[in-house]
Amino acid sequence: MGAAVVVDELVVRFPGHDRPVVDGVTFRAGAGEVVAVLGPSGCGKTTVLRVIAGLQAPTSGTVRIGGDDLTATPAHLRGVGLMFQDHALFPHRDVGQNVEFGLRMQQLPTAARRARVAEVLELVGLAGWERRAVATLSGGEQQRVALARALAPSPRVLLLDEPFGSVDRALRDQLVPELGGLFRALGTTVVQVTHDQSEALALADRVLVMTAGRIVQAAPPAELWARPHSPLVARFLGFSNVTAEAMVRADAVGLTVVASGDTPGATGAERGVVEAVVFRGDRADVHVGYADGSGSIDAEVSTRAGLVAVGDVVEVTVDPRGRWTFPVP
């Protein structure tokens, strides 16, 4: 069973930077919980991970794992697993030796090590790759080896830094539910750091949105998706039609093509001209500029009934259920 991770008022300042990279971050990942820290590059999320792992000393604040204050404990005594963004595989060792490293540190006997390595490699889809040289691996393969290496010692806390960065879409779609199942079965606490919202939403029990060193919202994926706290979070989640007070979900915007010659005002809806269309299979993203020049709106429409084209004149209707007003801070 995994251990709870509690980070309390973490501040990290680097020399030469006037603002702290991590500015008072507090959160809790319960035992067995999968938490994703979502944020743009440079927001400090990797630094938080490195502090939890023990690779970076915080300027102030504490890290408690499993109830023990480990803020001052060196990295090799913390019992966490870390998967690096750039993989950081040992170039002078082959795949099997990389994966078994943590097991060697735990002084597991050879037979047990070998079995575990085979087990973990199978998990990440690289069964039988023990003797391959690291230099011959593709980016995705290296990522999987890095993951296997972090998983092999069955750490009570697993830290993942952009785990699916180099992995192609198909493989990711396959790995995500597999890993989700694995984490639940092991009960490992997972803290995942990513800039990709679909990854975070898919894998996590709770998502923490982080910008400029601070956590701006923490919520389960569904709630985050339904009720983003601020325009910042909304934009980061990929929503369009975001203003300072409210947002309109793109799929709540309906478009009806108007035949030229129709008189306006028939239904009371606003009129606009289609400026851009991005075809996405079943759906399409359509960017419509209002006819009266008062702005624009993005709509996500089904393509079943045909596709609008750039230049079409459309009537825009907004389903009020798709409107969300940001809570007052």
Partner: protein
Amino acid sequence: MTLRARWGLLAVPLAFLGVFFVWPVVAIVGRGLRPDGAWDLSPIGDVVTDPVIRQVAWFTLWQAVLSTVLTLVVGLPGAALFARYSFAGKRVIWAALVVPFVLPTVVVGIAFLGVIGPSGSLGVDLSGTVWAILLAHLFFNYAVVVRTVGGFWASLDAGPVEAAEVLGASPRRAFREVTWPLLRPAVAAAASIVFLFTFTSFGVVLILGGVRNRTLEVEIFDQTARFLRLDVAAGLAVVQLVFVVVALAWFARTQQRRAVPLRPAAAATNASPVRGWRARSFVAANLLVMTLLLVVPLATLVTRSLRAPDGGWSAQYYRALSTNPRGSTAFVPPVDAIANSLAFAAVATVLAVVLGGLAAWGIAGRGGGGGWQWIDAGLMVPLGTSAVTVGFGFLLALARPPLDLRDSLWLVPIAHAVVAMPFVIRLLVPALRAIEPGLREAAAVMGASPARVWREVDLPLVGRALAAAAGFAFAVSLGEFGATVFLAQVDRPTLPVAIYRFLSRPGPDQFGQAMALSTVLMLLTVMVVLIIDRVRPPGTVEF
């Protein structure tokens, strides 16, 4: 890289060494082994069976091995210091490490004997013992280990080490399992250079070793330059060459096995400020070693340059440097000495870096078959060949048109470049090998022409190694290594020559000015090396 391309790169460096190293050596050895036109290899046999020579050869070997080991043991922690920590004065100290390299041996002898000598501050007289030789070798070669290994270490990717620590390896374990295997090419490179230098050590052994400790190089010098017994000298030179080739072959094998591609990371992220008592004591211990080893002997020189005969402090010797009371031809205006030294060193550095760079590139390239480590080893031979042999070889080989260069000033930087080139190659090859091929491929795919790939990918990544190599080449030239000591040249004195001139005459003003000029040489070295360390191709990361 195709085989053709690799040979193309090596063509010019090989031709250079062929004309300015192989030919002179063959000429002088030939003179000894072919006295009347017929080859007579018996001197080699005589030399090998002579018990005295055997003793000398054995001594040469074990003192070189011990010196190398000692320098590694003391120097590697120093390398760690510079690779992992940032502290005040780091840049200046890094540059100042090169100073011992540059000082004439007789001055080092004075400095050293001020510490370990009969009336030295250490209290025990080590002069004339093998300990004096070992310590002096450490003094000279500390910079080689620290700057070579330290530079490489600073560029090592910190990721794998951190991964090892998180996986449960204590810092010591992580070093043993991850850092050390990755560091080995650089350590082997440094060790090979130190070994070659100490194996062919001449001045140190002569001055500090006393009458009883003699190396092959000292014997060769006596036989060549004093007794003109060219047959015996040739025999000795061949023996020395065999030793060197065997040693280089051994090093070559270790090199090939350890070449592992890395992604050199920014040194700035690797060097952290000093925190915690453990780190502090490590830094302090190393700085103490450097102080005792380097600062104390050199400080003797500086204090002596400022001490007037009546015991008080005075800058009279510095003032006296530019005066020529006797209107002597032997007088060297300090500005002239500095200018000559700098000019020769600049030319020698350019030659060594360009030629060494071409060669390193050809050796380190991938593709075109194996066996390149032998070429690599072969190019190192000049570093391990008797300087007096090469010098006297110049007199014989380069003695008639179209290559009568005996009087040419070009011969000085050329002789220096012959010694400096192996240095450059030794430092660049591990760095070039460490460039991930993917980076080059990525650039090429993005449309970069081969020249552009070289400029945008290779050059920035080896920038640090290149700067280190240039610094060494400069120091080698400034310190008058190699054959120039044995050339008869039109009077164009450099700083070491000017210093030596003072010391070959009696009198307090002569001694004082020698000390003053040595101090000038030290300061000049630090300044220039600081500049070289700063000059980096755009795109390279800051130290």
